[in-house]
């Protein structure tokens, strides 16, 4: 009960503060739209919000799934081999340091017209890094005794990975996945806003901008936030199921 009530109250208070701030300063719409302006914008474009929201969501999820597969594989490679870790780390850090907004036009040119592929690609590129790093750290910091108890019995590397290394890394993996979820949304929207895509919430934001429909722009931001929260809690539920043992019992 408290778990639902407290966050809802926090959101309501935030909206009231926002409304009050706009009202007190008497800001016009183009400076800052207030929450009461957003609902008409939502209602007017409700079908667009639904279809474009779905577009943005599925591209983000697909990009994220690819990021999980690639990130975990990279993390495994770097976690098990010191040589590969030393070789790949600077490359990965360098790649991650490149602002993805600059990659967007490159990718858009590289795969001209393939909007779905481009968007998924950017979502993937922006979100695989934390996953790879957390998995590699989780695997490389496994205490040798954990390996030894199974190795002394003649267990294979694969058995050690499945029975010990993988489950032991799950809490770190889910921690990284929570970061990756929000990053993937940023990636999807970068592409949807920058490239002449015509689809997705990013494009709706862009059309709000061209039409000077400021409440619409804010409404897109809010719906993005809501999608982000929803996907984040999907990860939280998965974490409870697969790595719930890592949570400390509080009561």
């Amino acid at each position: 009960m408290r778990q639902v009530f407290v966050p809802v109250l926090a959101i309501v208070l935030f909206l009231l503060f926002w409304e009050g701030l706009v009202w007190v300063n008497d800001w016009p719409n183009y400076k800052m739209a207030s929450p009461s302006d957003l609902w008409p914008a939502f209602w007017r474009f409700k079908w667009l919000f639904l279809t474009f929201g779905w577009e943005t969501l599925w591209r983000t999820v697909v990009g994220l799934l690819i990021a999980i597969v690639v990130g975990v594989l990279l993390g495994m490679v770097m976690g098990f081999s010191r040589v590969l870790r030393e070789g790949l780390y600077p490359l990965l850090v360098g790649f991650n340091a490149i602002p993805k907004a600059t990659v967007v036009p490159i990718v858009a040119l590289m795969f001209v017209g393939q909007h779905d592929l481009n968007t998924v690609l950017i979502a993937f590129m922006i979100s695989f890094f934390p996953i790879a790093v957390s998995v590699s750290i989780g695997l490389s910091t496994l205490e040798p005794e954990y390996r030894d108890i199974l190795r002394a019995l003649g267990a294979s590397q694969m058995t050690i990975f499945w029975k010990i290394a993988l489950p032991k890394t799950l809490p770190e993996f889910f921690g990284a996945l929570k970061v990756a979820v929000t990053l993937a949304f940023i990636g999807t929207n970068l592409m949807e806003i920058v490239s002449p895509h015509g689809r997705g919430l990013g494009a709706l934001f862009d059309s709000g901008k061209t039409n000077s429909d400021y409440p619409l722009m804010f409404a897109v931001l809010i719906s993005l936030a809501m999608l982000g929260i929803a996907l984040y809690y999907v990860v939280v539920v998965l974490e409870r199921i697969f790595a719930g043992w890592a949570e400390r019992q509080t009561d």
Binding site: E143, I149, R151, A152, L153, G154, A155, K168
Partner: protein
């Protein structure tokens, strides 16, 4: 030497080993030779960092010696074998498994003809023997340090290994818990026959548990002194405070002192 000559269940023959680190090579064992007879229990003591843990890794087959050979049951050890059970100072229990499932872990690796019901019964029996009945479904983090170490001993013994290797398993426990666990060890030894090697830096623990105490010299280690204890099997804690026990302790303490003085400076 031929295997037939090895009467001991565990035999270490002229083993030398050197670790190569970034700062150069570090010889840890130098022509080490020792044996443990079947169902014997040998404690190995020595200055810290003298290579005691290396001995356990050699016996377990986790490490190959640079020179010399290690034999178990008359067969040369070239790779890990499931006849070995190990317990360390860190109980390394898997937090995502219940205590029962932790104890059953080796049975998932070692091929066994036991049915799953029989495996579970075996694990439950062992847990009962060490006083953990009723804690089977708890998570490791819900148990005290001493209880976790008891569970770790059960896991080391669940597949009925010929050899039990204990690498300072009681080192991190408080004095009272440690004495409790010493008595548990004697109980286990009566119920579950095994040949044991105990690495420890607690001399009292060595003379309370073992049949024979071996003092290793400083690095690179070799056998410096061997003390056979008069009594095998269970004993009471009172026996640690008899004049004979005190005398043995003093001899061993003196030997450790000699071993430390013999070490190269800087270590």
């Amino acid at each position: 030497m031929t295997p037939a000559l090895h009467k001991d269940l565990i035999r270490i023959d002229g083993v030398s080993h050197t670790f190569t680190t970034e700062s150069g090579s570090l010889p840890v064992l130098d022509n080490l030779t020792l044996g443990v007879p079947e169902n014997g229990f040998t404690a190995i003591v020595g200055p810290s960092g003298c290579g005691k843990s290396t001995v356990t890794r050699l016996v377990a087959g986790l490490l190959k010696p640079d020179a010399g050979s290690v034999w178990l049951q008359g067969q040369e050890v070239t790779s890990p074998r499931s006849v070995v059970g190990m317990a360390f100072q860190n109980p390394v229990l898997l937090e995502w498994r219940s205590i029962l499932k932790n104890v059953m872990l080796p049975l998932e690796i070692v091929s066994s003809s036991l049915s799953s019901a029989a495996r579970e019964a075996r694990a439950r029996d062992l847990l009962k023997l060490v006083g953990l009945a009723g804690f089977e479904d708890k998570r490791p983090s819900e148990l005290s340090g001493g209880m976790r170490q008891r569970a770790s001993l059960c896991r080391a013994l669940v597949h009925q290994p010929e050899v039990l290797i204990l690498d300072e398993p009681f080192g991190a426990l408080d004095a009272f818990t440690r004495e409790d666990l010493w008595q548990t060890m004697h109980r286990l030894r009566e119920e579950e026959p095994f040949t044991g090697v105990l690495i420890t830096h607690d001399l009292r623990e060595a003379i309370f548990l073992a049949d024979e105490v071996i003092v290793l010299s400083g690095r690179p280690a070799t056998v410096q002194y061997t003390k056979a204890l008069p009594q095998r099997g269970p004993r009471s804690l009172d026996q640690l405070y008899t004049p004979e026990a005190t005398e043995t302790l003093n001899i061993l303490r003196e030997q450790i002192k000699i071993a430390r003085e013999g070490e190269e400076p800087g270590s």
